[in-house]
């Protein structure tokens, strides 16, 4: 039994590695067509700089990018686990980010309470915004794909209106607009000590965002919730086989609502690493599209927190490479091609490994049926 699980894990891992390699082959073809050299491109991608400070900066940039991607992947995955396609993560995190930034800018509290309030406001806002499509689905049978896409448009326009209207604050003379700045107590301390612990210099600028630690915590909590609790089991059961779950006493309506709201609440956190760690307000330059990238990250990570973390790191690594690639005279759109190719290959590899695993299982079952002895350990 143990060996079957091990084999499946090895198969999955092998599939992922083959997928990444294949993606690089496809991308190399694209680079050659664009007139570049794949070898130079690969060198550029792994070029983190010459000095220690440059390397620390590059790693920081990568981790700061991975943090929101990881949270976005988690948010999407919660819905995915019960076959809920929450495309609305994009809108949920935008609306949550602006409300949280505004509320945070209005308060003056001791730092730990201030930060907790901001985080809670973001989660509640995101959760409430996800409640709308959940209710529509449960009580009116509206497909959540359609309702969440529509709600994304509303959230986007609403955020654009709020930041220029009721929630506007700060400098009015410039062309950019933003919510009132967060006071120092609402700014998340950086995590530069992680570098200094190893005797490395601190990165430049706003440093390594401390929200990274919150993200890791959220990842662990989600893992426990999904894999080790009754609630998580019911979510997975509803996703795997709705009728069977219903027959065994799971209330599907309740599951849809709680999974969707949980997904939205986690989505509410996506914008916070940036707001609490760098910009200290929601403004014109707020990073968009993270919700959509979260879909790719979740798919790539197989909807499992650890896989999502790896996928987020891979995407962040590729995103960071966009600048060194330009220094090497290779178009940065190569990065988008690689990302797209990897996701596509992983999806294909996932399907192929699933079929191989299924066939092996069948063979094993057949062998087990033929011989009365327990299935071979070395199968």
């Amino acid at each position: 039994m143990r060996s079957a699980a091990l084999q499946r894990a090895a198969l999955t891992l092998a599939g992922a590695v083959v997928a990444v390699l294949l993606a690089f082959v496809v991308s190399s073809a694209a680079i050659v067509i664009a007139g570049g050299s794949p070898v130079t491109a690969l060198q550029a991608m792994f070029d983190f700089g010459e000095t220690t400070v440059a390397v620390v900066n590059a790693v920081t940039q990568m981790l700061n990018r991975a943090t929101p991607l990881f949270i976005a992947g988690l948010a999407v995955a919660i819905g995915f686990r019960m076959n809920l396609f929450n495309i609305g993560v994009e809108g949920q995190y935008r609306i949550a980010a602006i409300v949280a930034a505004f509320v945070g800018g209005q308060l003056a509290l001791p730092a730990p309470i201030h930060l907790t309030v901001i985080i809670l406001v973001a989660m509640v806002t995101g959760g409430l915004y996800a409640l709308v499509p959940a209710m529509l689905k449960v009580y009116r049978g509206v497909n959540e794909v359609i309702s969440t896409i529509m709600l994304n448009f509303i959230a986007l326009s609403m955020a654009a209106y709020l930041v220029r209207g009721p929630f506007a604050g700060g400098q009015e003379e410039g062309l950019t607009t933003s919510t009132p700045p967060l006071p120092p107590s609402g700014q998340f301390p950086n995590a530069n000590f992680l570098f200094q612990m190893f005797g490395l210099p601190a990165p430049r600028g706003t440093g390594l965002w401390g929200f990274l630690l919150v993200a890791v915590l959220v990842g662990v909590v989600i893992w426990v919730l999904l894999e080790r609790t009754r609630f998580g089991f019911e979510i997975r059961a509803s996703g795997l086989n709705g009728p069977a779950a219903l027959a065994s006493g799971v209330n599907p309506r309740q599951m849809v609502i709680s999974a969707m709201v949980l997904s939205g609440a986690v989505a509410g956190l996506i914008g916070l690493p940036e707001i609490l760690g760098r910009t200290y307000s929601y403004g014109t330059g707020f990073t968009p599209q993270l919700g959509f990238l979260g879909i790719a990250v979740a798919l790539l990570g197989r909807n499992k927190p650890l896989g999502i973390a790896l996928a987020a790191l891979l995407f962040a690594f590729l995103d960071r490479a966009a600048t060194p690639l330009q220094f090497a005279d290779i178009p940065p759109s190569v990065v988008s091609i690689i990302q797209g190719a990897i996701v596509l290959m992983v999806v294909i590899a996932g399907e192929v490994t699933r079929r191989i695993a299924l066939r092996q299982e069948e063979r094993r079952a057949a062998a087990g049926a033929a011989a009365p002895a327990p299935a071979g350990v070395n199968a």
Binding site: A34, G35, G36, G49, A54, N57, Q61, R65, N83, F85, I87, V145, L156, S157, A159, A160, Y161, V163, R164, E173, G174, L175, T176, R204, G205, T206, G239, L240, G242, R278, T279, G283, T284, G285, F286, T287, P288, Q289, L290, F292, I295, A296, L299, D319, R320, A322, T323, Q326, F327, D329, I330, P331, P332, S333, V335, S336, I337, G340, L344, V347
Partner: protein, 355 residues
């Protein structure tokens, strides 16, 4: 069964999203191919002047704003012997600050940030690199080592409004903006003021392609085309765009709308920067925003040892903005335009900056 269908749905949606991402980067694809020419090796051999430039989302190849900035950079290369390096940000603009840092770390000085969206990031980065000189296009100075380069878009757009109102036969014109930001509203405000001053009863359709902060609206020719098509169908015969790369769609709509339909370009002389001859023909004029001059003059002054800290305003007086005359479509109304120009320069007309 359900699971399978769900998986398929997931893959299809994702594939769609990826496709969109790839098309969004389509314009950026030209970057590498064309920028392969500047050799990094002539850094020592040249003047020792290493100029870095960071585009905004939309990037190279928009045949408008960003390309105008690049023209200034190229001029610095040929006339001042500068070693140049230009970078485009990620599609979501999340690495704006990091790009400026990387340019500074690589020894580029001065560094030019193209677009007002760099303002908050530049404030931090400029403070981290006090020995490097920066410039920002479309925003004021944000530090002692930052030069602001601002343009009086509303004045140039006023002239575009005068030209459109004088040339229209249907008494109906249009305006297509990118994101509805304060910057693009300056274009709208000037255009509307100029048109109304020329023909008080003129009908003006106004459409924006995205909300404030939605920089993708600068890179959506499909949306630009739909917006302009609507205006031409409603009877407008001249449409002015201030939407970067999306303007390509406006030109296509004008060309498809039939005879006597015109479009007005923006930032660059688009009758020259647009490649397709059938699109060149329908460009009545372009509102020039001489970002190229601003960039070049900044590099030149910097080479001469000038330091930042102030904001240079490019307006009609110094020909920082104006109308192009390629195609010679405006000769019959030139007197009217010149009169408006003189009145703006003398201060008789103050052009509004907000609609």
């Amino acid at each position: 069964m359900l699971r399978k269908r769900f998986g398929r749905l997931a893959v299809t949606t994702l594939a769609g999203a990826m496709l969109m991402a790839v098309t969004a980067c389509g314009g950026g694809g030209d970057t590498g191919a064309t920028s392969a020419s500047p050799g990094a090796s002539d850094a020592g051999a040249g003047s020792g002047l290493k100029v870095g430039l960071a585009f905004d989302v939309g990037g190279r190849g928009d045949k408008s704003f960003n390309d105008s900035a690049y023209a200034g950079l190229e001029r610095a290369k040929t006339e001042l012997g500068a070693d140049i390096r230009e970078l485009s940000p990620a599609g979501d603009g999340s690495n704006r600050g990091a790009m400026l840092q990387q340019l500074a770390d690589a020894g580029y000085n001065p560094i030019i940030a193209v677009g007002f969206a760099y303002e908050p990031e530049l404030k931090t980065v400029a403070a981290e690199y006090p020995d490097v000189q920066f410039a920002i296009v479309d925003a004021g100075s944000v530090g002692p080592n930052v030069t602001g380069l601002t343009f009086a878009e509303q004045q140039g757009s006023y002239l575009a409004g005068v030209a459109a109102a004088a040339k229209t036969k249907t008494n109906h014109i249009g305006f297509v903006g990118g994101p509805e930001s304060k910057l693009i509203q300056k274009f709208e405000a000037g255009y509307v003021a100029g048109a109304k001053a020329t023909k008080p009863d003129i009908k003006i359709d106004i459409s924006y392609l995205g909300a404030d902060g939605d920089f993708a609206a600068f890179k959506a020719p499909d949306k630009g085309k739909i917006a302009a098509e609507k205006m031409y169908q409603a009877g407008a015969d001249i449409v002015y765009h201030a939407s970067g790369d999306s303007g390509q769609g406006v030109f296509q709509a004008a060309a498809a709308a039939g005879a006597d339909k015109w479009a007005i370009g923006v930032d660059s002389d688009q009758a020259q920067t647009v490649k397709e001859p059938e699109l060149q023909k329908i460009i009545l004029t372009s509102m020039l925003k001489r970002v190229d001059n601003g960039v070049f003059e900044f590099i030149k002054a910097n080479k001469g040892g000038a330091k930042g800290g102030q904001t240079v305003a490019y307006d009609l007086k110094v020909d920082g903005v104006g109308l192009s005359t390629t195609g010679d479509h405006l000769s019959d109304v030139q007197a009217q335009i010149d009169e408006a120009k003189q009145k703006i320069i003398s201060g008789e007309i103050t052009v509004p900056e907000t609609p």
